[in-house]
Symmetry: C2
Subunit: 506 residues, 2 copies
């Protein structure tokens, strides 16, 4: 009896895994189509590409959201609840993760999903025109409509919960929104006065000398630095794209960056950030490819990119190590000292209005502002028509600067043509990166290793503590497993305090 129940459970589990594997592969193909579109596709390919995306995405949805998937999950869960069959820890994690994705997909009616998709496509052009014309009123009705559709979607997934929380869980899994909102409050209370002190009392930091830094040389430099950092070129590539991103699995990790000929280091920094994402993917177990144990945790991803970007790439030892490489590529920089390079890549510019151009510190105020406005919109606490004023007031309060146009204010990002509530990850990523960095420093002499160009121990540590687990643990559990404690703002705030107090001689 028990044996046959176990066979039955095993068959159901295998069938579920096979469905998930197809779904997961189709998702990776979607990501690859995106990479191809940004990197290699001729411009004329766009119309067909949209249809190709649609077909792959629909095929993935069909496999995941099919009634058969739900039946399999239920059979497994029932057998488990009745004690008829027992899953091991990893198998339980697999079922938990597939259940989560199934619930979010299967509960949204097809009509609503395709309405949303069509609405987003249409809104994009309207946003572009509104931004170009600095005409918020032309876009406001689209934002209003999006808020309505997103509320409807949240209600379809779970009518009993805060619709914003439901939406937030699209991108953040297993990391309680109220905890993240508390952390954001702490950050705001701490960072606003710190930024204010830098603005008023900080010394003037050096800048990278003005000049023209040609793209091909920047690309060479980038490749040399990524090689030293340990990028596995047999499983990876580096290309340029209009907006840096990555498209990666544990077998094939593609980093993109963009080069600005007036700034020799921006492209490098972006590449190191994406290299962090790629390294996480490359550290996932190969034998679990196509299962949740071979997938990354979305809430962890940005901590890996920020770790490499900030806790490696913006440190003094990094510049001690790499400045000779940089000046070899750009001899015009040979007067620069490592201290100056370090200071230059860490300059704060609160006067900047644009999120994607923000520095390591002020960036988080751009994020917090967006999360506050997004949540107020979805929760019905803010009218769409009041957004520009609230935006500008917050910019003034947080960064001491007020946009003169909506194009530089609330219309700057494309995101409201497509979604709300997806920005937390950037700031959570930085907070967690600092926490990971602190835990790693308990075990390793990180500064010494960077100075020596020894990056394998850093990869090993991250692989052991974070990457190899895939989605074995919930996000909040994985944070504890990796760092020994729950998510906390403490390490990030210590890190920015120490770094910027020192740099700006406050």
């Amino acid at each position: 009896m028990a044996e046959s129940a176990d066979r039955e459970r095993t068959a159901a589990y295998d069938a579920l895994l096979e469905r998930y594997e197809r779904y997961s592969n189709l998702r990776h193909v979607e990501r690859l189509l995106e990479w191809d579109q940004q990197v290699t596709m001729p411009a004329g390919g766009a119309p067909a590409r949209a249809d190709q995306f649609g077909a792959v995405s629909a095929a993935g949805n069909d496999v995941l959201a099919a009634a058969e998937t739900g039946d399999l999950i239920e059979r497994i869960e029932e057998a488990e609840a009745n004690g008829e069959a027992t899953l091991d820890e990893d198998q339980r994690a697999v079922v938990r993760e597939i259940r989560r994705e199934y619930d979010r997909t299967a509960t949204v009616p097809n009509d609503l999903a395709s309405d949303l998709s069509a609405y987003r496509t249409e809104s994009r052009g309207i946003w572009e025109a509104a931004k170009a014309a600095d005409d918020y009123d032309a876009f406001a009705p689209r934002l209003d409509g999006l808020v309505e559709l997103e509320r409807e979607r949240s209600a379809a997934i779970d009518p009993d919960r805060d619709p914003y929380e439901v939406q937030y869980e699209d991108s953040q899994h297993y990391l309680a929104l109220d905890r993240v909102e508390d952390i954001f409050d702490e950050l705001r209370e701490h960072l606003v006065p710190l930024i204010e002190r830098i603005r008023t009392d900080g010394r003037e930091l050096p800048e990278i000398p003005a000049g023209t830094y040609d793209e091909a040389t920047q690309d060479d430099l980038c490749r040399e630095v990524l090689t030293t950092l340990g990028f596995d070129w047999d499983r990876g590539r580096l290309d340029t794209a209009p907006h840096p991103f990555h498209a990666s699995t544990q077998f094939d990790a593609r980093v993109t960056t963009r080069y600005d000929e007036s700034n020799p280091l921006a492209g490098l920094t972006a590449a190191i950030h994406e290299f962090g994402h790629a390294s996480y993917q490359l550290g996932l177990p190969q034998d679990a490819y196509g299962t949740p144990l071979g997938e990354s945790r979305s809430g962890i991803h940005e901590s890996q990119s920020r770790f490499w970007e900030n806790h490696v790439g913006r440190t003094k030892p990094f510049w001690e190590l790499f400045l000779p490489t940089v000046t070899e590529h750009f001899p015009s920089l040979s007067e620069l000292t490592a201290d100056e390079a370090y200071a230059a890549v860490n300059r704060i510019h609160p006067e900047n209005l644009i999120r994607v151009e923000a520095d390591e510190l002020t960036y988080h105020m751009h994020i917090i502002l967006r999360c506050e406005i997004d949540s107020a919109l979805v929760r019905g606490e803010l009218d769409v028509e009041d957004v520009p004023e609230v935006w500008n007031d917050k910019m003034e309060e947080y960064l001491g600067v007020r946009p003169e146009t909506d194009a530089e204010g609330c219309l700057q990002d494309i995101h409201w043509s497509s979604w709300l509530g997806s920005f937390h990850g950037y700031t959570v990523g930085s907070v967690l990166a600092a926490q990971v960095d602190a835990a790693m420093r308990d075990d390793l002499d990180v500064d010494g290793l960077i100075r020596e160009g020894e990056f394998a121990p850093l990869h090993d540590w991250l692989g052991e503590h974070v990457h190899r687990h895939g989605r074995r643990y919930r996000t909040d559990e994985l944070i504890e497993v990796a760092t020994g404690e729950p998510l906390t703002a403490e390490y990030f705030l210590d890190y920015v305090d120490e770094k910027f107090t020192d740099l700006y001689e406050l």
Copy 2:
């Protein structure tokens, strides 16, 4: 009554088209994954890529072979048969084409399809090892197994017909096998003595001077030639791959070639060939993308590549036009005359044993030999163990040369690890290219246009007569529509007679 039947028919037709559109897009994505694997994928990506292919392919099959597809087709055909609703010509063509693809896919049991797929994957490694060891016996059982599985598959599709004919229709649609076999007989009778005369009585043709021709310069040359030939770079790319191929839609046409530093023109010729394929795809109607009317006819494709490769790229006017471009890139060739270049690219080498290195004339004997052996195997007229001897006898009979090893003989091609019966298209393509060329010359001064570098009229003619029709016509019908008569060997035989009699001064 009639009105509601028509509405019903329209709804069924639209639903069928929507299914086909998904299927068609997934097929294009598969092709793009192939391109990516050959051109951009890091080597380490292979294991995941196999799974991604599998997922996209299964998703396409699921959409096409679903019972719902069959029901829709039947409802439409019944309404049509009852006179309840009337399709226009184009719609009838759409239903005919979807029916053909549906019948071939839905009739093959899933188990057989996956057995075949697994068998092929396994055979590939065994073929590689057998070829490397020149050990036919190690591979023979795999070929035997493939013949069995293919016969089984043919029987599943249509148990009442010649299994080889059923298989042939995988790649050749609506072009009767017996007609093609007659044409092959004509070719054999004509080409074998012509090749023999060239071997014994032909003068010695000049060769391209030996030297090292660097890859980057060959690539520049290729791009310049393709630009003059009218390649639309906004909808296309050129890259290198281990084996030249193309992956194209009417929006995005990707040509690949490979460069050999000892031969400055082989890469160019391959690129022109693939450019011909790409031009066909680019000439398909954009508004029919995702429907059979926006897809190419497989039996026509090779005529378009061969037209550009041979009837443009291997003509005297072509070399009159492009020789200055070639010598500008490779000054060491500046002694060469256009007549010499023309002769050099048209050299026949019957002593060559390898199909993929064969010239324009002897190539067809390699194809005919394969088709004869494949058909005899599938029809049960030849035992697998006798293949090497039959192969070598035919090589001797057709080309006057006998392979000393099976590695250079019947083990040379990878195809028997995967399929049988798919080679006709190459020779049909050349035959049809000559027929198309002759029809075009009734309307245009082709030589004069080539000499002037005016290629737009050639594209326009092909677009008008061939490309714009997609799959509107059956292959045999399209040949008549495009050239005014059924497929015939006449023009091809006249063309090779005239060209090689003149070149070799026979």
